[in-house]
């Protein structure tokens, strides 16, 4: 078996948002939505600090679909449009999706976006990778772990573009992969483990 995943170093992440834009370009994500966000934890201003001077701290959290092993979104999808593929990626079949959005309510990480309107792109053309399907109005979409790239044994675009190399991509089922080692050695953690979704995406400091 294969369980593709990403491990992210919160120590390395500088909140530069490069992966956010890399993802948007690669995956042809329309205006007004993002598959991948980098949030500044615990504040309502970007790059803000938490605490009171001089005891301040600042933490960035890159956030996209966690490719959960037990995906809440998949169980609730009435038409089976959301599925987990043989490589452990959680994907959406856009031809099946009826746009009921129960998956958006079910995902604990707000990882999903909906095509509320006819997708708008600026500049006005499909800037994504040519193999990435163009999603119509009325379907849900989210991070695919760059399915088209990872199918071709390439790393996801966010991993390639991260200037601080905060992201490591690999197979959790291979104990000798770099990602498996990192997770073991750095005592990596998952987001919201209490929800039981068991994310494949891991974080460490």
């Amino acid at each position: 078996m294969t369980r593709l995943a990403i491990a992210i170093s919160q120590e390395r992440c500088t909140g530069c948002q490069t992966c956010v834009n890399a993802c948007k370009m690669e995956n042809n994500v329309p205006m007004g939505m993002l598959w991948n966000r980098v949030i500044t934890v615990g504040t309502d201003v970007m790059d803000g600090a938490v605490g009171s001077y001089p005891n301040l701290s600042k933490e960035y959290l890159p956030l996209a679909c966690q490719h959960c092993e037990n995906p809440a979104c998949m169980a609730v999808c009435p038409v089976g449009a959301t599925y987990k593929d043989e490589k452990g990626r959680v994907l959406i079949n856009y031809d099946l999706c009826i746009g009921c959005r129960i998956c958006m309510a079910a995902c604990p990480y707000n990882a999903r976006c909906f095509n509320w309107e006819e997708p708008v792109r600026d500049p006005d053309f499909n800037y994504g990778h040519r193999d990435v399907p163009v999603r119509p109005r009325g379907v849900t979409e989210k991070c695919t772990l760059c399915k088209e790239r990872t199918d071709a044994d390439l790393e996801p675009m966010c991993v390639v573009c991260c200037p601080t190399r905060a992201r490591t991509y690999g197979d959790l089922d291979d104990p000798e992969s770099e990602i498996s080692k990192l997770i073991r050695e750095k005592h990596a953690y998952q987001l919201l483990p209490e929800r039981g979704t068991n994310p494949q995406v891991h974080y460490y400091k």
Binding site: M46, L63, C77, V79, G138
Partner: protein
Amino acid sequence: MQKASTKRMSLLIVCALLTATGVGVWIYQITQGLAITGMNNGSSWGLYIACFMFFVGLSAGGLIVASSASVFGVRDFKKVSRPAVLLSTVCIIAAAAFILIDLGGIQRVFNLIIHPNLTSPLMWDVIVISVYLLINLVYLVLLRKPDEQRSARALAITSRFALPVAILVHSVTAWIFGLEIAKAGWYSAIMAPLFVSSALDSGLALLLVVLVVLNAARLFETSRKLIASLAGLLAVFIAVDAFMVLSEIITMAYPGAPEEAFVLAELTRGTMAPWFWFQVIGGLVVPFLLLVFSRLREKTPVVVVASTLVVLGVFCKRIWLLLTSFIEFNVSGAPGLAFGRAERTATETWTLVGTYSPTWAELLITLGVLALAVLVYTLLAPRLFGTLPTHALHDDDSTERHARADVLLDGPQAAAGTQAEVG
């Protein structure tokens, strides 16, 4: 008489116009996408889903009262079977309409049939609501000739299916929310009992209002005594509903865990407070006090006021139950979530908390469905009860009232089938 029919005609015309407007706006929504609604990536459900829950609930009252009358042999309540089951049918159709209206990809809706995923509570609901609608229709057909031996038997059997399915429909609808571990305000074992109890009180309350209106329109006669005794039952249902809400709130409040505390703060002092407090005071406390004293509930206007309050209260509850859980994101921080619309400015693109307010389009479509429900009821009501004996379903000890109803509605020949009851 002339006046009554002009009134009815103008009601029909107004409803037809509103329905037509709603259909028009819905077609516009299909061409434009759900972007014309207030929903967004933060609050991904809104008025349509709140109304869906609301109407599923309203539909309960009718069928549960009618079928438990049959199952448990509560003779008195059987008298209202016909208006009750018609109400239940119309409400479940409205609920189904709201689900369809809410779909972003209505053109792919057939995937529900050709590609079902049976682990989805939404799929369960599609199945259970279809069965429920079918039972309602069978019930209605049987109620047309309840005095025949055969249909009385079939009626007794149908009612035994109707009652559990009615309860299941509300439970499954509750599980659409109650099984979402992502949302602190929803994920709770009490969700199904809570839905069933608010279905019982709002459904019975609506039935009472409808019965009074039918009385006034001389379409269907319900005695004051029966209204009062149904109102007494309503008081019990309100108390059960209040008990469920209390259990839920106290369980959330006591540990003081941050997520639950946030939900509670939003409810009691935040943006959802008006909805919450209206429900608690206007929808539970006041109507309960109005109905708990038998002298008061014998006054029909009091029953109407209390029932209307209950229906409005449960509507408010649907709103707060749905929206409160969208406000806080489990993983939050600046800049938040991308809202989901292209035309918004750079700063508006982001939202730190879930926000929602319905647009005109949503309100018009919702009003359209409401009008359609009234329209269908008004059209079918005289066909269903106008020409038929109202009391053929039961034998009645109060011969006096009985005789009056005979004269009023159908003449003495209708008394024939009174003993045809099974069960």
